[in-house]
Point group: C2
Chain length 411, copies 2
Amino acid sequence: MSMTAIKGGVLAAEGFMAASTAAGIRKHGREDMALLFSETPCVAAGTYTSNVVKAAPVVWDKELTDHDHAIHAVVINSGIANACTGDAGMEACKQEAQTVSEAFGDVIPPESVLVASTGVIGLPLPMDKMKAGILEMVPKLEHSELHATLASKAIMTTDTKNKEFAVAFEIGGKTVHLGGMTKGSGMIHPKLCTMLCFLTTDLCISKTLLQKALFEDIVDTYNMISVDGDTSTNDTCVILANGKAGNPEITEENEDYQTFKKALHAVNETLARNMAADGEGATHLFTVHVTGANDKETARTLARSVVSSTLTKAAIYGRDANWGRILCAMGYSGAAFDPNKVRLCFVNDIGKILVYKDGVPVDFDEDYAKEILGYEEVTALIELNQGEAEATAWGCDLTHDYVDINASYRT
Amino acid sequence: MSMTAIKGGVLAAEGFMAASTAAGIRKHGREDMALLFSETPCVAAGTYTSNVVKAAPVVWDKELTDHDHAIHAVVINSGIANACTGDAGMEACKQEAQTVSEAFGDVIPPESVLVASTGVIGLPLPMDKMKAGILEMVPKLEHSELHATLASKAIMTTDTKNKEFAVAFEIGGKTVHLGGMTKGSGMIHPKLCTMLCFLTTDLCISKTLLQKALFEDIVDTYNMISVDGDTSTNDTCVILANGKAGNPEITEENEDYQTFKKALHAVNETLARNMAADGEGATHLFTVHVTGANDKETARTLARSVVSSTLTKAAIYGRDANWGRILCAMGYSGAAFDPNKVRLCFVNDIGKILVYKDGVPVDFDEDYAKEILGYEEVTALIELNQGEAEATAWGCDLTHDYVDINASYRT
């Protein structure tokens, strides 16, 4: 299949519009609201946090995407998470959707509007500001690359970089576009999905297969990143498909479906990696690649355990090839493997260094290891030599800045 | 039952002796080896790490305690963990035990000698230094409180305080003594036991009941502490009972057994708390007390999840009453509960402040909260209001010093 990375983020696909504004939820006049809109109704699929404490927007969105409502818009705010806010939180979601609906002269129903929030848990949303923000954004909706980027910035919290990505590919002789934006830097250890992720495509596809493709792909993308082991109350990953590419509708798991899945994976993997690299306080993107496992779940479990290990993350920060902590994290992961068959390397663009083989350490050049670990991206390559399955997890190092950010985030 | 805290640590019980030395495994002439000895053979019980990657000493000890060998001695070193060391690691354990046996003129067999190591993973033990250290310690063995303290210091790694505790209580008209020492500051998230813990008692008890009492008690003590979520390869908790108190042997779960269990719990809880308070870089002992759970396991799961939450730990460091992170950590714990019934307070010797009730935040005085959280010990009291079960977990905050210590521990 031929697939090209393109610009445009959530506006790469035909028929989507976006706007953003500074509604005054966050300080210093920072943009803190975004609106995504498609005049053509969208088939929508969503995955949400597995946290028992679910934020109100998660409950609102899940209800809509579970019941096959056609979706026209998503309204998002940063600064306040609308989590642990009781009945008032649900009422806020309803009012957001109603305000969007009314702003479009009731042409689109409130049940076609998804909502999402990120920020401090427990505070009520300032509804006057939210409503004013929505009314300000609606007339600003436009299909402009600039707006996609502004929207991806407006949903940031402790993120240092906005995250957007898009691809173009062919299905049934038509060019299809798929793009997305994500935010997420702390409280990142997704169990069903990442913090906030919005994907748009002009693909024509049935709801069932859109949902299936999304569910299957997050397992190896957003579910494989970790910043701090804390699974958020607000995790949301939504994909909207408005069908404007004009391809024959995908209604079975044919070759077109497989093409779409590859494109979806490319977008999700890039956005997931970017989130891990921009983890709170991170100085390294830390990738763990496990090969030779007996089965896929074993590979995933081991990769996730290593990438989440506090001690390993601190060692990566210190440019310390402390492979013992990696073996240790594999050992307590709950997955079965034979430590005596493991081969462990650190590898990146600088070079590759073998540190452990056949159950015993390998003598290695500490200076060279420090050089490799000094680079901003490093991969721990773990060869189990037991089977054929593999998996990759992405995370980041544990730094002083992480502690600073989170010792003072709320106050 | 009447129970008194007494001095003496591992030497509080009759018939035990201890010694320590600087064998040159660690730098700067620091004491790095300890030897425990009982002329009277001991009934011994042990629990060990659940990590798949088990250090050689864990394998050696488990073999001995599982097969009811009478135990006379424990030799311990800090500096090197003897983990991931392959066959050479097992050979090192054997040589340690043989050296102790020979030093006693072969009166005690190598199979009566337990070994334990803590420190860097992957390095080989320097056997010449280890043997010389053992030969130096044997003539120094003495029943002296000073030696108990020196031994508890020799097994420290990044610990800042030695940890020992002992109690006296009555069984069958005889005074029984039970004492212990532990070490552990990082890589602490025990699944079966804590890093290293040695308990001695002059109680007369069957092997079966000694093991049962130990297994039952660690679930609510060492298994309920967490410093960094990393379960070590070397976790070991051993109890030796030499029977010298002269009480009628405990062979059934009678009143005497219950008395012993209470004493055991008192010692284990104190040592576990002390380990958590001395977590690497810690400025706070952070206790999480969950009440009103439907069952004990739910209470334990929730308490452990909160005490292990990276974001909550950073907030405690920042004296930030960020209760949203606590609700969040409860939510992703996997345990079932109703967030709308939860009542959450921060409490300690300074005061008590309610921050969340019935599914919504409570307005509280931020200055007062900061004052409470400024104290070196703070408890999050989580009332679930659903059942009768409760549990307590102990941990510490996540600080800059934690990052410093672990970014440079090995090198």
